[in-house]
């Protein structure tokens, strides 16, 4: 455990309680995110339940390789941030900083890959407007879900990258070690973003194959 003094904020009486409190607060926030994304999943489920054939056909047009590569990227970013969190806890701030940089890189890689995938989807006329490529009730709502869910997820990834960037800046200024709680809380958020993607992957990229 790092020997450096840990910061204490008002109104906490002592540091262990404060860390416990911040971690607890983040878990409560993650519970709200479960319901936020869960409501979106309800839309998906109702649509797929009502139009199974149309959804299966429509989902065959998602790009399997983009999706799978992105899943691998995000899983690896979870590895690096988990390493960063544990490294800081064990008094290894330089390893933590390296792992944070890697996480940032992977996260950006995810967004860039997603960008290329969006471009391809638009070229294939998979935006559910008048020029939509597919037919059948349920196809447009499926693709509507695709765009909404991946966009909302991408917003969360971006927020996560901002939080990771903040940790990197703190680390560069040698101010990260007293802020273990900050690291743990950011790590939890990033893992949650990964969890959402894991579920989205199953809903979007594994349907209608081969």
């Amino acid at each position: 455990m790092s020997q450096s003094a840990q910061l204490l904020h008002e109104p906490w009486p002592d540091r262990p309680r404060e860390t416990e409190g911040y971690v607890f607060a983040m878990w409560i926030f993650l519970a709200t995110e479960v319901l936020f994304f869960g409501a979106l999943m309800a839309f998906y489920t109702v649509n797929r339940w009502a139009h199974p054939a149309a959804v299966t056909q429509a989902a065959a047009h998602t790009d399997f390789w983009f999706g799978t590569i992105n899943t691998a990227i995000l899983l690896t970013s979870s590895l690096t941030i988990a390493t960063a969190d544990r490294a800081l806890e064990h008094g290894l701030p330089r390893l933590a900083r390296l792992a944070l940089w890697l996480t940032l890189a992977f996260g950006l890689g995810f967004l860039v890959t997603k960008g290329f995938e969006y471009r391809k989807d638009l070229e294939d006329h998979l935006w559910p407007s008048a020029a939509f490529a597919l037919h059948g009730a349920g196809a447009r709502p499926f693709w509507g879900f695709y765009w909404i869910a991946t966009a909302v997820h991408a917003v969360h990834v971006t927020i996560g990258l901002g939080l990771i960037g903040r940790l990197i800046i703190l680390s560069q200024r040698r101010m990260l070690r007293p802020r273990q709680a900050s690291m743990t809380v950011t790590t939890l958020y990033w893992h949650f973003v990964d969890v959402v993607w894991v579920v989205l992957y199953a809903l979007l990229y594994l349907v209608g194959r081969p």
Partner: protein
């Protein structure tokens, strides 16, 4: 001889050791960038008061329009925008925040013996998000308003309305996150910052109420946020979500919307119940009857309240099977509420009741909440709801709970804790007059609406058949009395800030940690960290009532 009717003034209060939180910084910046939960509570109080009067202005225009059957004071389109404005503002910018962000923010740390909430900066962010949502709603208003009803039903809101749906939905979306962050903060605070000796079952019932409310806020609001996001996306990008032409289901919106909006009414009523428990205990000089039952009742309401939303959809095309399930669960959820009403009544029994303004509001709550709750039970019966759905019976039912219930309790709490928050005493005579006027005005406004609904007058219509006029005239006339009754506290409470007698630490002679510190409290709440050694509401021995009138509590919760 102490006047038992009025809270005690402070004849010789020594100068407090530390400045009060009100004196701790006089610049605007020290207020709008504060992280002090007490100042944030005041910021919220000012904000929700502004919106209360905006919503009230909309209601005034509505009641003017409905004074005569074929009035042309407003067009149908204007009327639709006004009742929508009234609903959106009153629900999300007044009722949902009201007690939690004002009294809850101020009192939660004090009641548990903490210096502040768990995340003070997030608390400030919550208020800033409220302002952000409020600004978007003002934008909507300036752009001509929205006419979908506060319920934003699809496909009207997504495909057909020509009004400012986006700004309104965005405003509610943003203020929802204010709610969520407040809930997270309060849950963490209650779990992690209780003073030594403050075990869960020594907590005041107001704290339990805020805790249960926070759980509901945190778990319900995200679903509302997503439902409105989907409406905005469908509207702006024409992506079909609820559009039946492409296989979407408009009823899915209602499921998602009411999944939040039914628990939302418990967000609005649970804190009110907490206030009532505090006021009744103090003003009847009695322990709350059945403390544990009260706790379990509130927690049960919070949980079962999530399983009844379909009772808003009995006539929407929902399957009758689901309707029966929701109906049954709606019956079940009434039971814990009824237990609470019985327990408050039992608390009053053989009490030494002081009829100061807070108690008058609390007694009003008991009657009005009972009427509202019972009519809710009627509506849980599917055939009855099929007959009166979308009539004034529904309007009367929810106003009895929201206004007769929550607003009465809010005023009860406002008056009860006013000396603590401001350090001043208000005019007891004016307060009693306002409380009684409010009760009478409220009943004159809303009881005729039960009759109107029973007779078949539909809601959300700007004109109506002649035979309904007499009841509408009664209702509109009652609204005049009610409006005056709401303006009175604005006047005498503001006056008290400048010229009211100063209050001492415990003008009501009540138990509870908040009464052990100065009025108003210092920035850090307590001079020394409290230790709790006794149960709450320690007004008398558990098995007997007080033996004399005005008996002070046996010991306050904090051992000095």
């Amino acid at each position: 001889m102490r006047d038992i009717e009025t809270p005690q003034a402070a004849p010789q209060t020594p100068e407090p050791a530390k400045p009060s939180y009100l004196a701790d910084g006089h610049t605007v910046a020290s207020w709008i960038f504060t992280t002090d939960h007490k100042r944030i509570a005041i910021l919220y109080a000012l904000s929700i008061t502004v919106f209360f009067f905006i919503g009230g202005a909309a209601a005034t225009l509505i009641r003017i329009q409905l004074f005569t059957p074929h009035n042309t004071f407003l067009t149908a389109g204007q009327y639709n925008r006004l009742f929508t404005l009234h609903g959106v503002v009153m629900v999300w910018f007044f009722l949902v925040p009201s007690i939690p962000t004002t009294l809850g923010n101020f009192l939660l740390p004090l009641m548990i013996g903490a210096k502040d909430v768990a995340l003070p900066k997030i608390n400030l962010l919550s208020w800033w998000l409220y302002l952000g949502g409020a600004a978007l709603t003002i934008v909507c208003l300036v752009c001509g308003g929205v006419d979908t009803g506060w319920t934003f039903y699809t496909p009207y809101s997504t495909l057909y309305s020509n009004s400012c749906v986006l700004a309104a939905a965005a405003g509610v979306f943003v203020v929802g996150f204010s709610s969520i962050l407040t809930g997270v903060n309060f849950i963490a605070t209650t779990h992690m910052l209780r003073a030594p000796g403050m075990t869960w079952f020594r907590l005041p019932l107001f704290v339990w109420a805020i805790y249960a409310t926070s759980i509901v806020m945190v778990l319900a609001t995200p679903v509302l946020a997503m439902s409105l996001l989907l409406v905005m996306v469908e509207r702006v990008f024409s992506i079909p979500v609820f559009d039946p032409r492409f296989g979407g289901d408009p009823l899915l919106f209602q499921h998602l919307f009411w999944f939040y909006s039914h628990p939302a009414v418990y967000i609005m009523v649970l804190p009110a119940m907490g206030v009532i428990s505090e006021v009744i205990a103090s003003e009847a000089r009695r322990r709350v009857f059945g403390y544990q039952a009260m706790v379990y009742a509130m927690v049960s309401i919070a949980i079962i309240g999530f399983m009844v939303w379909g009772h808003h959809m009995f006539v929407s095309g929902q399957s009758p099977f689901a309707s029966v399930v929701f109906s049954f669960l709606s019956f079940i959820v009434a039971v814990p509420s009824a237990i609470k009403v019985f327990n408050w009544t039992a608390t009053l029994y053989r009490g030494q009741i002081r009829f100061a303004a807070p108690m008058l509001y609390a007694l009003g709550f008991l009657g009005l909440f009972t009427v509202g709750g019972l009519t809710g039970l009627f509506l849980a019966v599917v055939p009855i709801d099929v007959a009166v759905h979308d009539t004034y019976f529904i309007v009367a039912h929810f106003h009895y709970i929201m206004v007769g219930g929550t607003v009465s309790a809010f005023f009860a709490g406002l008056h009860y804790w006013w000396p603590k928050i401001t350090g001043r005493l208000y005019s007891e005579w004016w307060a009693k007059f306002a409380a009684i006027s409010m009760f009478l005005g409220f009943n004159f406004t809303f009881f005729p609406q039960f009759i109107l609904g029973y007779l078949g007058m539909p809601r959300r219509y700007h004109q109506y058949p002649d035979q309904f006029q007499i009841w509408n005239v009664l209702s509109s006339s009652g609204a005049v009395v009610l409006a005056v009754a709401y303006l009175l506290p604005l006047a005498y409470l503001t006056w008290s800030l400048f010229a009211g007698r100063r209050a001492n630490a415990n003008p009501w002679d009540a138990t509870g940690l908040e009464w052990t510190t100065a009025s108003p409290p210092p920035r850090a709440n307590f001079e020394t960290r409290p230790r709790v050694t006794s149960a709450p509401y320690d007004y008398h021995d558990p098995d007997v009532g007080p033996t004399q009138p005005n008996q002070p509590p046996r010991q306050t919760q904090a051992a000095e």
